[in-house]
């Protein structure tokens, strides 16, 4: 389990990059960390991987503090958004380095993955394209058999074949070895397939943290036309009207919502599941961070 509890971090100024952030990734979960730009996702990730030290609060993995703790850190596979640290050497040199740093580095696995990535092991990484550098990072990181996989916008710049390949490898590890994954991304469509838990961050805080199943079972979008008032018992998060059609975002189990709505005898009523993207937009809309109806 990865756990951040009331973590606060400032970088010199008065602004808090992380403001009492709490985050829990259950063991064996695939956790999608999403948020507005500048919300502090990468800062949170750098605490989880032990790069930053928090001003206050605690950061633990499996109950142990991470900062300056090599035995915990050797079990974390980390792919940063900026691969600068990797680009100095060749894959061969980096593999030797990884073997020295990570006791569980698996040479057999490294050899098996050679066929997947097909990169030249003697070329310096900085001569590779950005996407290929990512391939190399995944090759090395998956070879060290991490218990925790921490990925900061991992598939940005990867072609569709490689994206799928990477997720397929990572998810097989989740199913086979119970690997715990934390991934930050803006691609909510993709996260919907990959994740079972989601955390939405805004301004250094956690806005909402749920299992995806809970989100899907407890939010529903309704389009309806009715001349009667809506039942008071409904928990309406968002409401908009276009002509006679009302669109409501409701909190509640779809079947219950449908039964309650039937009471107002709608002429037309359509229940739609809510996508992660919609949940993201409505949740952030509640904080004032929303799409303005603006015409230039």
């Amino acid at each position: 389990m990865i756990e951040l509890s009331h973590v606060t971090k400032t970088f010199g100024g008065a602004k808090r990059a992380l403001d009492e952030l709490s985050l829990t990734v259950p063991q064996g979960a695939v956790y999608g960390l999403v948020g507005s730009n500048g919300a502090g996702k990468t800062t949170a990730i750098r605490h989880i991987t032990g790069i930053y030290r928090q001003d206050s609060g605690s950061v633990t993995i499996g109950g142990l503090p991470v900062y300056e703790n090599p035995s915990v850190k050797s079990r974390i596979g980390y792919i940063p958004d900026d691969l600068g640290v990797f680009s100095g050497g060749t894959i061969k040199e980096l593999a030797a380095f990884f073997r020295a740093m990570y006791p569980r580095f698996d040479l057999q696995r490294y050899a098996a993955l050679r066929d997947v990535f097909r990169l030249d092991e003697a070329t310096p990484l900085r001569r590779f394209s950005k996407g290929m550098q990512k391939h190399a990072a995944f090759w090395l990181t998956l070879s060290m058999r991490p218990d925790y996989l921490v990925l900061d916008e991992p598939v940005d710049g990867l072609d569709p074949v490689m994206r799928r390949q990477i997720w397929s490898l990572a998810l097989e590890d989740v199913a086979g070895y119970g690997t715990t994954v934390l991934v930050s991304s803006h691609n909510l469509r993709e996260l919907e397939d990959i994740c079972d838990h989601v955390g939405i961050m805004h301004k250094g805080r956690m806005l909402l943290e749920r299992s995806l199943a809970e989100l899907q079972d407890n939010f529903v979008k309704v389009q309806l036309v009715t001349e009667h008032p809506l039942p008071q018992s409904l928990h309406v998060l968002h409401e908009s009207t276009l002509g006679r059609v009302q669109t409501l975002i409701l909190r509640g189990e779809p079947q219950t919502v449908a039964n309650e709505l039937a009471a107002s005898a709608p002429m037309f009523c359509d229940l739609l599941p809510l996508s992660l993207e919609e949940i993201f937009i409505y949740e952030l809309g509640g904080t004032g961070y929303d799409v303005k109806n603006f015409v230039l």
């Binding site: 695939v30 799928r164 998810l171 097989e172 989740v174 199913a175 079972d196 995806l212 599941p273």
Partner: protein, 122 residues
């Protein structure tokens, strides 16, 4: 074997469930045959294993599959289920036909609808 439609707003586990059900009811996955393991399917579809687990769990509680600890999941004897589903569908069809008749649709128009349906099915 299993196609996920990313534009379908239905949750993925429901889609997986529906696809597997279709394969079982059409006999593509006959009773007694082993379903792919959660790990295989997670890798193949690049889908969260817990999502697949959820689909399997619900198929099991609906009586479509049986899980044997350590061996995997197998297609149950679903002939009866298929019969039952057919009956339900026929009833729904009858109800729809009655409603259409009440709305003034004649015998010929109904037959034409059915013929149209058959064509679009292919």
């Amino acid at each position: 074997m299993i196609a996920i439609n990313y534009r379908d707003p239905k949750p993925i586990y429901e889609q997986i469930q529906a696809e597997l059900r279709r394969l079982m009811l059409t006999g593509a996955l006959p009773p007694g045959s082993r379903l792919p393991s959660v790990r295989e399917l997670a890798g193949q579809l690049a889908i969260n294993p817990n999502t697949i687990q959820r689909a399997y769990r619900e198929l099991e509680s609906d009586g479509y599959i049986l899980s044997v600890a350590g061996k995997g999941s197998f297609v149950a004897q679903i002939d009866q289920l298929a019969e039952q589903q057919k009956k339900q569908a026929v009833e729904a069809f009858r109800a729809a036909a009655q409603r259409l008749r009440a709305l003034g649709l004649g015998e010929e128009e109904l037959a034409a609808l059915l013929a149209q349906e058959e064509q679009t099915d292919d």
